[in-house]
Every structure is written in structure tokens, then in C-alpha cells.
């Protein structure tokens, strides 16, 4: 009958795929390791080697897994999941299929905040600065959209583009004015989006943000459903429209700030993943939200694995890989949707 009647199956499959992706991605790299090695490392660090009778790995292998690959893969998973959830929530609240944290200027705002503190050298404040930048960009975009009249999908995306360009120009200016040599290169790779420098602190920031904010946002399925036919329909279904919109968008800005602070701005995950999932399962958010999160995690884990292995020993910023995959996929989605009677307006 409808396409949304087997949610448990979808979720179980996606969860399995996400776990398998993390384990497999950790085994891939110049040092040859297997899934069993990953298991032994995790058991060892959980202090259970004695209890379960497994041998800890040699120190070098252990460090490769525990200090390098594990934090990186887990950060990628958390960032992918978080970006996908942000994309779903923004697309639904602005009723704009093009909305994602990247396009509406949130990522650019977060980047501006982060680059400012990087240049000044107070890296400890990076997550805070990224969050403040994201919120400022969100408020700027929505205020600009609102100043043109009612906040419509088209106005939102135009305002977001304006804010995004402004923040990007300011970021370029800051880099041009103050960055030199090495810091220039590291800022650039960070601006394109990368989880190469991920540590357990990154895992804690991104993972914590996704567990707390992502879970809260992912539980708003019915509320987002109510927005399907617009603000008036949502209001007549008993939703306090303005308060809900601002609360959820600030939640998205917080989450985006946290994600951008560890990974830079990675585009297309928040844009393409929700569209692809919707095509498979329909637009009901109760399934769309968690499923997008799980598939977003797998997607970014594999995109990052490609980024560090395809041109090894050179590494690409993962943002280039997501754009290289995301842009054609998005074009394909647009092409498949060309028969839809209504446009973006």
C-alpha cells in the first residue's frame, strides 16, 4: 500500500550498515588490519581483555586503530549523522528542498567564527565561536527573508545565499589579511571540510552534540509532519508555529556549530541524503529523521575513507569527495523530479 509500513526493517538495516561501515572503515588503510583486530582493541581499551580472554594488539597497531583511525571514523559518522538530521529539519521547516546548513549560510557563519579564533590563536574557543557564527548567520538569513514579507521557501534560500556569500567574503578577508604559510594551508583544508585531524575530543564534541541535539531533533517527527502543508496547516493541527520554528532552527544552529567546529564545512550531506531517503521511504519524518541520520553516518564514513585512500599517500579534504558525489546525485534527483507540478517557489 504505502511506502512507509516497514520502518523497523529499514532502521535495523541502516543501523547494521552504519556499524559495519565503522568497523570496515577502521580496517582500511596502509597498515593492514582486520575486523578482529578492531574488536581486540575496543575490548582492550574497555578494560575487558582479562575478562574476555583476548590478547591486546601490538602497540603500533593499537595506536593506529585507537589513536588515528577510530577517532577519525567515529567523527565522520557523527558529523554525517548530524548533518543529515540538520538537513531534514531545515528542509521541512523552511519548506525548501534546497535547504541545508551549507546553503542557508549556517556553515559559512560557523566557518567565519571558527577562522576568526583560529587566526587569533584561541583554538579552545573554536566550538563556541563556530556556534555563535552559525546562530548569527541563521538570524541574519531569517531576518533578511522576513524583511521581504512572509518567510517563503524562495526568500529563505535567497537570503541564505546572501548571508552565505557575505560570511565567505569576510572569511576570505580574514585569511588574506592575517594567515601565513602553514596556517593558510590548514585553514584552507579545514574550510573545504576535513576530519583528518580528528581526535577523541572531536568524537566527544561531534558525538555528544549528535547524541543530545540530534536525538532531540530526530524525535520531532510528528511536529515536522505537521508543517507538510505549510504554517497555517501546522497551526490548525495544534502546533505553535513560530515558537517551534525558532526552537528547532536554534537546535540546528547549535548542532551545525558543533559539527563545523570539528570538521569544517562539509557540503551536500545535509542536502542530498534526506532527498534520497525520501524517495525510498516517503516523506513522513518519524522514519525519515533516524534513517537519514544512520545513512548519513555510513555515507560520510565511506566518503572519508575514499578521501584518505584513493590518492594515497595524498589526502583529499572530504568536502571535495562529498561534493563530487553529491552534486551529480542532486542533479539526478532534480532530473527525476522534473515532472513534479510545482517548483521551488
Amino acid at each position: 500500500m504505502t511506502t512507509t509500513r516497514a520502518p523497523a526493517l529499514w532502521l535495523a538495516g541502516a543501523l547494521l550498515a552504519a556499524v559495519a561501515s565503522v568497523v570496515l572503515a577502521v580496517t582500511i588503510g596502509p597498515t593492514d588490519l582486520g575486523a578482529a583486530d578492531v574488536w581486540r582493541t575496543v575490548v582492550d581499551h574497555a578494560g575487558l581483555s582479562g575478562a574476555l580472554g583476548t590478547e591486546p594488539l601490538a602497540r603500533l597497531q593499537d595506536a593506529t586503530i585507537w589513536q588515528l583511525r577510530m577517532p577519525r571514523v567515529l567523527t565522520a559518522a557523527a558529523v554525517g549523522a548530524g548533518l543529515a538530521v540538520c538537513g531534514v529539519v531545515m528542509q521541512s521547516l523552511t519548506r525548501n528542498p534546497l535547504a541545508d546548513p551549507y546553503l542557508l549560510g549556517l556553515s559559512s557563519g560557523a566557518s567565519l567564527g571558527a577562522v576568526l579564533v583560529l587566526v587569533v590563536g584561541i583554538t579552545a574557543l573554536l566550538p563556541v565561536a563556530a556556534f555563535v557564527g552559525a546562530v548569527a548567520a541563521l538570524v541574519g538569513a531569517l531576518a533578511l527573508a522576513g524583511s521581504m514579507g512572509a518567510i517563503t521557501p524562495t526568500r529563505t534560500v535567497l537570503a541564505g545565499l546572501a548571508i552565505s556569500q557575505l560570511a565567505a567574503a569576510a572569511t576570505s578577508f580574514v585569511i588574506f589579511w592575517s594567515a601565513t604559510g602553514d596556517s593558510y594551508r590548514s585553514i584552507l583544508s579545514w574550510l573545504m571540510g576535513s576530519v583528518a585531524g580528528a581526535t577523541w575530543t572531536s568524537v566527544a564534541i561531534a558525538g555528544g552534540a549528535v547524541l543530545v541535539l540530534g536525538t532531540l531533533l530526530a524525535s520531532t517527527g510528528s511536529i515536522l509532519d505537521a508543517f507538510t502543508f505549510g504554517d497555517t496547516a501546522a497551526a490548525t493541527l495544534g502546533i505553535p508555529v513560530q515558537r517551534t520554528r525558532w526552537t528547532l532552527l536554534i537546535g540546528v544552529a547549535l548542532l551545525t556549530g558543533a559539527l563545523v567546529s570539528v570538521s569544517g564545512s562539509i557540503g551536500f550531506v545535509g542536502l542530498v541524503l534526506p532527498h534520497a531517503v525520501r524517495m525510498a521511504t516517503g516523506a513522513r519524518h518519524r522514519l525519515l529523521l533516524p534513517l537519514s541520520a544512520l545513512l548519513g553516518a555510513s555515507f560520510l564514513v565511506w566518503a572519508d575513507t575514499a578521501a584518505r585512500t584513493v590518492f594515497a599517500p595524498r589526502e583529499l579534504p572530504v568536502g571535495i569527495v562529498t561534493a563530487a558525489i553529491g552534486a551529480p546525485v542532486f542533479a539526478l534527483l532534480l532530473w527525476r523530479g522534473r515532472r513534479a507540478p510545482r517548483g521551488l517557489g
Binding site: 504505502t2 512507509t4 505549510g230 495544534g238 525520501r278 516517503g282 516523506a283 513522513r284 510545482r342
Partner: protein, 286 residues
């Protein structure tokens, strides 16, 4: 506006309010149905709705008529609770709708907008299930009851065979029926319709109004903004004529849709004939 005011008598006389429930509404009790009193609403200092008093009896279809810009849609949005009046009361069966919390209000009032569209891929059944949101916890999914009610509602509007179809693939009339089903599963006591026949071909217009009449026959209070005077003459029990944000006439169709009122409001001459088969008034314009 110097048009005759045939229905100001209910004003201030609380007991008489329900007595406007005229023909075809034997079940009406005093105080039941919708009562709008002194409702005023302005945007940036411009009065859009200027002290409206009107009633809509239960179990009957009340048409809200008037030219473009007369305040029909604004009044519906005020009654639906989408916007808040600056002044005045909106009561349903004695309960004040303005001060009511949103979710309880969404369980008694349903509103079908003029243009409801979405770019999302959504089946007809999923669209109807949205109407259950006010009735269940925001954390819960669709229960078996919700699913059954949604399927019943689709059957009720003659769309049972379309449950799995994508909304975008339906015709305007079919989509309108789905939106009606979505309003039905809200189990409303008051159903508000904003130009429900807009953009529909004549067969779909008549079918939609027939559906509205059967819903009213079940005891739902229906208030529908309509553009087409003849459609209103054929399908409404009671009409409220708005002009410039004020009620200029209200009452049974035969009393309001008369040449004097139509000319005063629209500036158009008309003759009122009788439908040879139904006996309902038919307006010949010009």
C-alpha cells in the same frame, strides 16, 4: 455600507443566537454551533475585519460570501485560531475558541485552506494521517486506530482506491477530497473551508459541495467561504454576506441572496429565479 442588515437582531440577545439555525437543522439547540461576536482584526492600522457578528448553526452549511478583499479568508483564519482577533469572541457551543489551547482546539476545529500543496512525495493515506496529529502524543507514531480512521475517511470522500497514490499525481478535485478527509480525521465539530471549489471543474465543484452537505448532515458545523453565489445558493442553508470587513446581511439563503443585497455588495444587477427541480434560488446576473 447602506445595505440592508437583515440579521443584526441576534446581537446582544444570547438566547436568540441558536434560533438562527433555520431550515434543515432540526438538531440545533440554543447556543450550539459557532457564534462570532464583535470580532475585529487589523494589520498595520488597517481594519480588515471590522466588528463581525455572525453565527453558523450545527448540522448545517453556512456560506461566507463577499467580494475579493471583503475579509472572508481573514475571518476564517480568525475563527480557526491561526490569527488572534484584536477584539471580540469566537465561541463553539459555548466554548471560547480564542482562549483555548492550540491542541484541544485542533481536536474540535479543522480548516481546509484554499491552496494546500507540498513538494514532498506523500501518499494520499499519509496526507490524511497528518490530521491525527492533534489526537496523539507528538512522540507516538500512527496507531492502528489512526490508520483505520484515515482509511474510513478516504472511503467517506470516495478516495479509498487512491490511498497509496502520490498526492502530486491526483487531479485538483481528488486532492481536495484528500484534504477534506484529512480534516475529517481531526474529528472536528467545526469544519472551516476556504473556497473549497476553487480551481475545480463543475463536476468536482458539485461533488465537493455534496460531500460538504453530507458532513453537515452528521452534525458538523460547516462554515465555507465561497465565491460562486449560485453554488452557495444551491448548497448552503444559511449565508453571511461580508463587505469591507463587515457583515451586511446574514440569514437563510432566500433572505440574503436577493437583488438588493447583491447589487449593494457587488454592484451587479441580478434576478432570482427558482431551480425547476430543486426549488433552490438561482441567480441570473447582469
Amino acid at each position: 455600507m447602506s445595505a440592508p442588515s437583515t440579521d443584526r437582531r441576534a446581537r446582544g440577545a444570547g438566547a436568540a443566537r441558536g434560533a438562527d439555525a433555520l431550515d434543515r437543522s432540526g438538531a440545533a439547540q440554543p447556543g450550539a454551533g459557532l457564534a462570532v461576536e464583535r470580532v475585529r482584526w487589523s494589520v498595520d492600522g488597517t481594519l480588515i475585519v471590522d466588528g463581525v457578528d455572525c453565527t453558523a448553526p450545527p448540522g448545517a452549511v453556512t456560506g461566507l460570501l463577499g467580494p475579493n478583499g471583503s475579509g472572508k479568508s481573514s475571518l476564517l483564519r480568525l475563527v480557526a485560531g491561526v490569527t488572534r482577533p484584536d477584539d471580540g469572541t469566537v465561541r463553539l457551543g459555548g466554548t471560547d475558541l480564542v482562549s483555548m489551547a492550540r491542541r484541544p482546539r485542533a481536536r474540535v476545529v479543522a480548516f481546509v485552506e484554499q491552496d494546500s500543496s507540498t513538494d514532498l512525495p506523500l501518499t494520499a493515506l499519509d496526507a490524511v494521517l497528518l490530521g491525527r496529529i492533534p489526537h496523539r502524543s507528538l512522540l507516538a507514531g500512527d496507531g492502528a486506530d489512526d490508520l483505520r480512521l484515515a482509511q474510513d475517511a478516504l472511503a467517506r470522500v470516495g478516495m479509498a482506491a487512491f490511498a497509496g497514490r502520490d498526492l502530486g499525481s491526483l487531479s485538483g478535485g481528488e486532492r481536495q477530497r484528500v484534504h477534506m478527509a484529512r480534516a475529517l480525521v481531526q474529528e472536528p465539530r467545526l469544519l472551516l473551508l476556504d473556497e473549497p471549489t476553487n480551481h475545480l471543474d463543475i463536476a468536482a465543484q458539485l461533488a465537493t459541495m455534496d460531500l460538504v452537505r453530507t458532513l453537515a448532515a452528521d452534525g458538523v458545523t460547516v462554515l465555507a467561504a465561497l465565491h460562486d453565489l449560485n453554488l452557495a445558493a444551491g448548497a448552503c442553508d444559511h449565508v453571511v454576506m461580508l463587505s469591507g470587513g463587515r457583515v451586511v446581511a446574514a440569514g437563510p439563503v432566500e433572505q440574503v441572496l436577493v437583488p438588493d443585497v447583491v447589487e449593494a455588495v457587488y454592484g451587479v444587477r441580478c434576478e432570482v429565479l427558482r431551480h425547476p427541480r430543486t426549488g433552490r434560488p438561482v441567480l441570473v446576473l447582469g
